[in-house]
Structure formats: structure tokens, C-alpha cells
Symmetry: C2
Subunit: 348 residues, 2 copies
């Protein structure tokens, strides 16, 4: 892919949890654009965010905003993306979309730069950032799949409040305070209390009994790995954690795979950090993953339920706002801007 000069960058949904993280990551990684426009809904307009060394006022999102924009990073939900992304593309921008709106569109690439950067080749238009749970799982399993093709995945998630946005994180904190004070709890963002509780991911349950998040993990994993027949059974669960998702992953192969071979692959994988200290019982934890670019992977072991050696168990934690959303979007923007593969994470 040839380099693509970024004169004008727009951030849509700049005041949300992912939008703010995008702004921070652009600065942390030294991403340069001559001009940065921050956009949000009427409710959030007027906020001031510092990007590229300058305080910038967030403006109300309007169709005319995309004139002259080279790259627009959308993090304002599927409805906003469905309405404004085609307008931005029409105006000549490349849209990097954090929402689910276009992910399964066969004409839209769904990209994790460490895994399938080739899917960006020749693309203009809309580029989709995958679902956060799918990204965090894939960072750990794609390097394995490249060497030992995975046949089947059983995964259970431990998903943080941040996946439902800044208001959900606030709700977890507020409910915690209410619980400690003996006050009654009235969930607003989540359908159930989240303090000292956990529940099935709050997306629509399909006729097959899988919720929307689980369906995304299945469909998006297959698309990203170009493996339409890969077998996956996810169970997606919301837990009272602020901003890193964890996942317990069971992998099945067609032949025996040694844990040491998996560990070696993961030690070399970009964007992955192996945390697998059996002596000190130190493995991936959300508090260690929070604010980091790398996805932490550990508990790498032979599946005890498969004496034929054809199973591997893993546990991962990754920052939902960073690699699960904002970082992945910025990495795509870097890829487009520089025409080279993204740098291995720097903010460790």
C-alpha cells in the first residue's frame, strides 16, 4: 500500500470512552495530522480536548464536516456510523469505524493490523475495527493458528464495563458507592446491577440462544482469519471490572500441539505479552492489562480433557479501550498514513 498523506483527521464521538482514548493514543504515538477536527453529538459539543499539543473544542457533527477530511475515526455507535460514514466517504475521506455497522459487509475489510494487514491493500472507503472481545481473543490465537490450524474454540469472556462506554464505567463506580452506603441501586445503562454481580452480555439473544456479542465473536473471527468454517462457541459475560476484558480460551486442533511450542509462538507475536508465572501464580489480570497496548496471555497448558494432546487452554486480558478499540483504530490510521505495518506497541 502506498503512503497516504494525512492533512486532516476527524474524530467522530470524540468525548466518548473510545474517542478520548483515540485522542490520547494519537499523541502518545506521535501521529501527525496538519488539522484535527473533533466531533460529537449536540449533548457533548463544546467540550475541550487537548490533541497534538493544542486544546480543541468539540463541534456538533454535521454532514458538511467531512469536506477535505482524509481520515475519519468513528467511535459514536452503529447508528451514527450508518448515517455519517457514507457521507464521509462520499466527501473523499477514509473512514475507520469502531462500530459494528459495517463489519460483516463483504466489501468492508475488518482489520487487526498485526493479523490481517493485507486486507487493507487497495482499500479506501470504510475500514471496520473488529469487536473488542474478538480482537483480544485473536491477538492470542491468530499467531497460534498461523502455525497450528485451530479447529474449534470454546471461549468464556469476563468483559469490563468500558465495553458499554463511559457511562457504564461511571455506573459501576456509582453503584459501588451506593452499595457501600447501603443505598438502593437503580441500573440505567446496564439491565441489571453490575456491582458485585455479573450477567449475560446485554445484547439480543438470537433463536440459537447466543447473544449478539457471541455472534460477533463467531462471525468476525471467521472473517479476520479467512476461516469461514472455524467452529466457535463463545459465552460472553459482563463482570464488575472497569476497562480490561479477560477470556478463558480452549482450543482444539487436528493434531497434538505442545504448550511450549504455543508459548514460543506467543513470545514472538507482536502486540502480545506472555504472563505465565506458575511459581508465583501470576497470570493475566485486568488491572495489569489496563492502560497497556499489549494483550496479556498466560495459563498456557495442555488441555487435560484431551489425552491425545490436541487441546490447549489459555487465559488472556487486554485493555478494551486500547487494543480492543482505539489503539486498533489508530494503528489502521498509521498503516494508511505511512504505508508500512504498524510499529509494535510502544507504550509499555
Amino acid at each position: 500500500m502506498s503512503a497516504f498523506p494525512v492533512r486532516h483527521l476527524a474524530i467522530v464521538g470524540a468525548t466518548g470512552a473510545v474517542g478520548r482514548e483515540c485522542c490520547a493514543i494519537l499523541d502518545q504515538r506521535g501521529f501527525h495530522a496538519d488539522r484535527v477536527t473533533l466531533l460529537a453529538s449536540q449533548r457533548s459539543a463544546g467540550a475541550v480536548i487537548n490533541v497534538g499539543g493544542a486544546d480543541r473544542t468539540v463541534e456538533v457533527l454535521q454532514p458538511a464536516d467531512f469536506e477535505g477530511v482524509d481520515i475519519a475515526i468513528f467511535s459514536a455507535g452503529a447508528e451514527t456510523s450508518r448515517r455519517f460514514a457514507p457521507i464521509a466517504v462520499q466527501a473523499g475521506a477514509i473512514v475507520i469505524d469502531n462500530s459494528s455497522a459495517f463489519r460483516m459487509d463483504p466489501t468492508v475489510p475488518l482489520v487487526i493490523p498485526e493479523i490481517n494487514p493485507g486486507d487493507l491493500d487497495g482499500q479506501r472507503g470504510i475500514i471496520a475495527v473488529p469487536n473488542c472481545s474478538a480482537i483480544i481473543m485473536l491477538m492470542a490465537i491468530a499467531p497460534i493458528h498461523g502455525r497450528f490450524p485451530i479447529k474449534r474454540i470454546v471461549v468464556s469472556t469476563y468483559q469490563s464495563a468500558s465495553g458499554a462506554g463511559a457511562r457504564a464505567m461511571h455506573e459501576l463506580i456509582e453503584q459501588t458507592r451506593q452499595h457501600l452506603n447501603g443505598e438502593s441501586i437503580r441500573p440505567v445503562v446496564f439491565p441489571h446491577p453490575i456491582v458485585f454481580n455479573l450477567f449475560c452480555h446485554n445484547t439480543v439473544i438470537g433463536p440459537d440462544g447466543y447473544n449478539g456479542e457471541e455472534r460477533k465473536m463467531i462471525d468476525e473471527t471467521r472473517k479476520i482469519l479467512h476461516a469461514p468454517d472455524l467452529s466457535i462457541s463463545p459465552t460472553c459475560v459482563r463482570v464488575p471490572v472497569l476497562r480490561a476484558h479477560s477470556e478463558s480460551i480452549n482450543l482444539e486442533f487436528d493434531r497434538a500441539v505442545a504448550p511450549d511450542a504455543v508459548r514460543e509462538l506467543l513470545c514472538r507475536a507482536p502486540g502480545v505479552r506472555v504472563v505465565d508465572d506458575r511459581v508465583n501464580n501470576r497470570f493475566p489480570m485486568p488491572i495489569d492489562a489496563t492502560g497497556r497496548d499489549d494483550v496479556l496471555v498466560g495459563r498456557i497448558r495442555q488441555d487435560a480433557s484431551r489425552p491425545d494432546g490436541r487441546g490447549i487452554d489459555l487465559f488472556v486480558s487486554g485493555d478494551q479501550l486500547r487494543k480492543g478499540a482505539a489503539l486498533n483504530a489508530v494503528q489502521i490510521a498509521e498503516h494508511i498514513a505511512t504505508g508500512i505495518r504498524p510499529r509494535v506497541s510502544v507504550a509499555q
Copy 2:
């Protein structure tokens, strides 16, 4: 089994989280003993607990305490059980042991009264209460296994603080307060911060990479189901929940099994309540399981990763202190005392 009169009942570890729950459950279920002796370590002696309508002072545990005791329920950890249970048996008591000390002893029955009450037949001496995670999983899967033999289990747990005792529950509350106040957090009971975090169960990791809790789930499930070759891969995780454990369970069978057939079996199973409301996205949650006798089971669905129909996924929540420990112990005591199978739970 013939009836066994309970003139004298002893509770060892009466001031702990499980011991206190035992006292409450004995009263709730109207369990009668002519005399009740409450025992604990020096540190906790002198506390007063109301059982059987009378305030009783907790005494320091001594070897001579078991003279004349018919049933002694031990909930004071493996070390205390290893030291005092043989003394109690020598003195003529039946010991119901909540610790892990004797569970895998081939001469000791390991019993969930709804599942393998026959293992109590003719037993005096020590009777072991299984590990809480094993009990909560088995309440859901044993009724299925009885009709459709299970070949393989992949399970990931979401375990509450109560499994590590009253001090651990206190630590979760205290750390939460500290976090909200911006104070620094110093874990004492758990090896890592538990507030807004989760981690691998804090037991020793074996050479195969499985932790002690996972090993218990494997070994005890096989013993209770009399299925020494059953294949199981557990991942046991501690989460910031107060007192109910949840588990995401994937089951594999030798032939196709329909979710409706599973649901029907579970609707009829004693000690189980099916909570599987797809329309309202209401499934088992720790806050709903807390304080209940029944283990909640839901998210019953065909495993999407097995087009041959040979897989079922489930999600369960059960009160770790009740069915996971104290209730199961009292049910065993009832079984011994009355010579009949335990009543189906009443405290709903």
C-alpha cells in the same frame, strides 16, 4: 440407611463464613438436636451465636470436646480437619467435613445428597462435602449425565470472595472502599487486588499447569459421578463478587442431545432452578443466587461449534456458602438423622 438419633451436634469452625451459615440453615430447616456445641479456634472463642432458639457461646476446640457427640460438622479448614476429625470419629461421632482433607480418600464418601446419596449407605466415620465449584457444576450436569452420558466438560468459573472465607469477603468490601477513596490497596487474604479485578484461583499450580481448585473439580467430579475416565478441563477464576459462584459450562456427548431435552431434565431436577429467559435476557446471576438453596441454571443452548448436535452450553450460579458448603453439609446430616433422602430445598 436406618435413622440415627442426633442428641448432640457439634459445629467446628462455628464463627467462619460457612460455620455461621450452617447454624442459620439448621434453624431454617428445623433440624433438631438435643444439644449443640459450637467450637472454634482460641481467636474466635467467646463469640455468641443463636442456634435452636438459644444463644450459645463458642468454645475453644479441644480433643475432649467430641465425647458424646453424634454428628460433628467441620468447617475450619483442612489442617483442623486432619487433626481433629480422626479424634471425633474415635470418640464415636460421624464427621461431616467441609474441608478438602479427606475428599479423595477412597474410604471416605464424597456426597451431594441429590446426586449420590447411595454413597452414604452404611457409612459412619468421615463423610466429605465436595469442593464448592464441583458441587455447583454437578447440581446442573448430574441430572443431564444420568440421561445423556457426558463425555467431556470444558468449564470456566467466576468464583466469589466467600470461597476464601469471611475475611476475604471483608477484604473485597474494604478494598472497594479504599479504591473509591483513592487510598492505596494492600491485599492480605488474596495475593492480588480483588476490587475491579479478577485472577487465577489462588491455589498451587501443578506441573500440568492446572491450579489446585481445577484439580479438585476434575478429581471430585469423577468420584461423585463414579466416572473415573470423564474428561474435564476447568479454568478457575476469582472475580469481585461476594458470595455466589458462577460457571460457564460446555458439555460434549457421544450423540446429539437437544437443548429442550436438557431443559426438561433440569426443570425436574431437585435443588435446581431453571432461569433461562431469552426475551428479557435474564439468566443466572450471583445476586439472584445469593441466599438461595437452588443452583440457578440457564443459557441452555446447542453448542454452535458442533454441527453434529453433540454439544450443550450452560451457565450456572449457586450460593457458595449454602449449596456450595453449609447446606450440603446440613443435608448430609439430615440424611443421616432421618434415614431418608433430603427434602427438596425449602428456603425459596
